[in-house]
């Protein structure tokens, strides 16, 4: 009898080329995405005079620095920003790597584009020099972010050295109440376990509430795995996964599709598989959740009040709360729904897929936003689809700006910034100090909750709208 194994083990074992006595595994990489930030890695290759081992398994994507007001390189005023996009084109061209560049009709944020093009598939091992690579685990692949030295290593060898992480299963049973999304599930567990609560672990999301999620929602959930410190997050593939993938440009077709599905159907944790850690959540208890501080762990249900140092279990936490409140300009005891906002941002690899835009538009339809804001679709294809559905008009009529796709105000590298001291309700993933610009104050929440905040002019409870 074979020992029961987890989904993670099955995928990992299929990619292990070599294991050292010290337990380090040399892993085969199926897909490698590079964005503008990869220039350090390409420079490293150049210094050593090494070629890219498998240009056919590497894909270039312009997303972090792309402008959201234009698709023309020449329109970018900042020469350094333009240079970042050009450098990616040059590096990919030199090494024969497929590029989804600024003016490509398929351009988008790497973690939106990969699934959309069918490049992301079950059972793969995928990496990118970007921490939110965990997103792709939604298809039942092992996907994680790596640094520039590792990017150079993958480019040179199509392999990577890794130590097998511990494994945690996060089971969410039951039915999510209306208006509650994958973002709320994620913020809830991160608040409970902490921003480093799952450090060193691979997470498998399981349970009836997870099975019921759409592909888009699964991507949001896996995307945020890294915000709880996890190495990666994954969900066993099922009919939802296969239905999403069928017919995508890079998905297998014909006989190859049947072969692939036969393999993918075996990708699930065995009934008796053991995890190092098990965490359970009751879906019915999850509320619309927002962050109030400067770490994703500083999140609470919207009907709560800002905590103070006195509520904290230890001196360390008390210190952290004081520091966060000072940066955020908030007082202990304030009701979350009393926090006024200056602008909104709907975008990023976390929440800018078609479903996210639909959810936000549904709230905004026929209403006005009290504050300015930007909507940046996750990809150019999402943009076109949203326009075909008339969502762009809903946003514009509500007073928001409808932009081109890119990372935009999630990280501000292209110049889309929240001014210092301003407070932004955002569908992104990081409320870190200065993330959306120096001095910017970020509150993370779901697209529907951002839309509700826009209409109210302050953080608001979607259930009361």
């Amino acid at each position: 009898m074979t020992t029961p194994t987890t989904l993670f083990d099955k995928v990992w074992d299929a990619h292990e080329i070599h294991r050292t006595d010290g337990g380090e595994s040399l892993l085969w990489i199926d897909r490698h995405f590079v964005h503008e930030g990869s220039f350090h890695a390409f420079n490293k290759l150049r210094e050593r005079g090494l070629p890219v081992a498998r240009p056919d398994l590497t894909f270039g994507i312009a997303d972090h620095y792309v402008p959201t007001l234009t698709r023309r390189l020449d329109d970018i005023a900042d020469a350094k920003v333009r240079g970042m996009i050009e450098q990616l084109s040059d590096n990919t061209r030199e090494h024969g790597i497929t590029l989804f560049g600024l003016d490509d009709p398929r351009q988008g944020i790497v973690h939106v584009l990969g699934p959309e093009q069918g490049l992301t598939q079950p059972g793969l091992l995928m990496v990118c020099g970007d921490s939110h690579t965990s997103t792709h685990g939604a298809f039942g692949s092992i996907a994680f972010g790596i640094g520039a030295s590792e990017v150079a290593h993958v480019l040179a060898t199509q392999t990577l050295w890794q130590t097998r992480p511990k494994q945690m299963r996060l089971t969410v049973e039951g039915t999510l109440p209306p208006g509650i999304s994958a973002k709320d599930i994620a913020l809830t567990w991160i608040a409970r376990l902490g921003a480093d609560g799952t450090r060193g672990h691979a997470i498998e999301y399981a349970g009836s509430a997870i099975r019921a999620l759409s592909m888009e929602a699964r991507l949001t959930l896996c995307n945020l795995s890294i915000e709880g410190g996890a190495r990666c997050g994954m969900i066993a593939p099922d009919a939802t996964t296969f239905d999403y993938l069928r017919g995508r440009p890079f998905a297998p077709r014909g006989e190859a599709w049947d072969q692939a599905v036969a393999c993918w159907e075996t990708l699930a944790s065995d009934t008796d598989a053991r995890f190092d850690r098990e965490v359970m959540l009751d879906a019915s208890e999850i509320a619309p959740t927002v962050t109030w501080g400067v770490s994703p762990e500083e999140a609470l249900p919207i009907d709560q009040c800002i905590p103070g140092p006195a509520d904290q279990p230890d001196a360390g936490k008390a210190r952290q709360v004081c520091d966060s409140l000072e940066y955020m300009g908030l007082e202990p005891g304030q009701k979350l729904t009393d926090i006024g906002i200056d602008r909104v941002f709907i975008g990023s690899c976390t929440n800018a897929r078609i479903e996210d835009l639909r959810a936000a538009a549904e709230v905004l339809r026929g209403r006005r936003s009290k504050v300015p804001g930007i909507v940046a679709p996750g990809s150019t294809l999402v943009k076109h689809q949203a326009e075909a559905e008339g969502l762009d008009r809903v946003f514009v009529e509500a007073g928001l700006e409808w932009r081109e796709s890119g990372c935009s105000m999630c990280v501000g590298m292209n110049g889309d910034l929240v001014p210092s001291g301003e407070r932004c309700a955002s569908t992104t993933n990081r409320n870190f100090k200065g993330r959306q610009g120096p001095g910017a104050r970020t509150h993370l929440m779901s697209p529907a909750m951002v839309a509700a905040a826009a209409v109210a002019g302050h953080l608001a409870d979607i259930r009361e709208l």
């Binding site: 380090e24 240079g83 970042m84 150079a152 450090r199 440009p249 770490s295």
Partner: protein, 212 residues
């Protein structure tokens, strides 16, 4: 990469938790080539006030900070973005070791790949160490062979993954190591492709563009 055996140097106390890589190097500096010296960007927005003047009370602006090569911080150091530039900034500033109760996973492996030792100490030991250092850089000894930290009378054991310890002790570079496995990799790749014929990465011609 320069090997690390022991470091006898000044250590800077940075008594903050969740110092993420966005703080270690803000995004706006990441379009600079590394040749400009990333040390100047290290913790830029904590080091400077709104008028871009150095904050006198911030540890990296201490007159002896530039001599120190060890940083002591609180939990979850280097969480967040995978940007290796965060490590470049620390290394270019002069740091060879960061001691904290926990590190972001990606940060820690980036550190090791650049000869920066991420040493994990229990939270209680970190607090003792921070108390010992007070508000100024102070002498500390980090012994990687023995996995020991010494500061005055304090002696503490730190942890690091054994594979990382070996790499740092020897100054090894992964690409060189991996290339010794070239034949094994080629054999694996051939078998793997045979078993998974559906994985070829050519897009279907007839319908390159699809739904979002």
């Amino acid at each position: 990469m320069e090997p690390i055996k022991t470091l006898d140097a000044l250590a800077c106390p940075l008594p903050l938790a969740n110092v993420d890589t966005d703080q270690l190097i803000p995004a706006r500096f990441m379009k600079e080539p590394r040749s400009v010296g990333y040390g100047q960007f290290l913790l830029h927005d904590l080091r400077h006030d709104d008028q871009s003047q150095p904050r006198k009370d911030f540890i990296l602006n201490h007159p002896r900070a530039s001599e120190s090569c060890i940083l002591v911080a609180r939990r979850n150091f280097g969480a967040g973005s995978s940007r290796e530039a965060a490590v470049y900034a620390l290394v270019d500033f002069g740091f060879r070791c960061v001691i904290a109760p926990s590190f972001g996973d990606i940060f820690a492996s980036n550190a090791v790949n650049n000869g920066l030792l991420p040493a994990t100490l229990p939270e209680t030991d970190i607090e003792r160490l921070l108390e010992h250092l007070g508000n100024a850089p102070g002498p500390l000894r980090v012994d990687l062979e023995a996995c020991r930290i010494q500061a005055g009378d304090l002696v503490m054991a730190f942890t690091i993954a054994p594979g990382w310890r070996t790499k740092l002790l020897n100054g090894w570079d992964d690409i060189d190591l991996t290339r010794q496995h070239a034949d094994e990799i080629a054999r694996f790749a051939a078998d793997y492709a045979r078993q998974r014929p559906w994985l070829a990465t050519t897009a279907s011609r007839e319908k390159v563009i699809t739904r979002g």
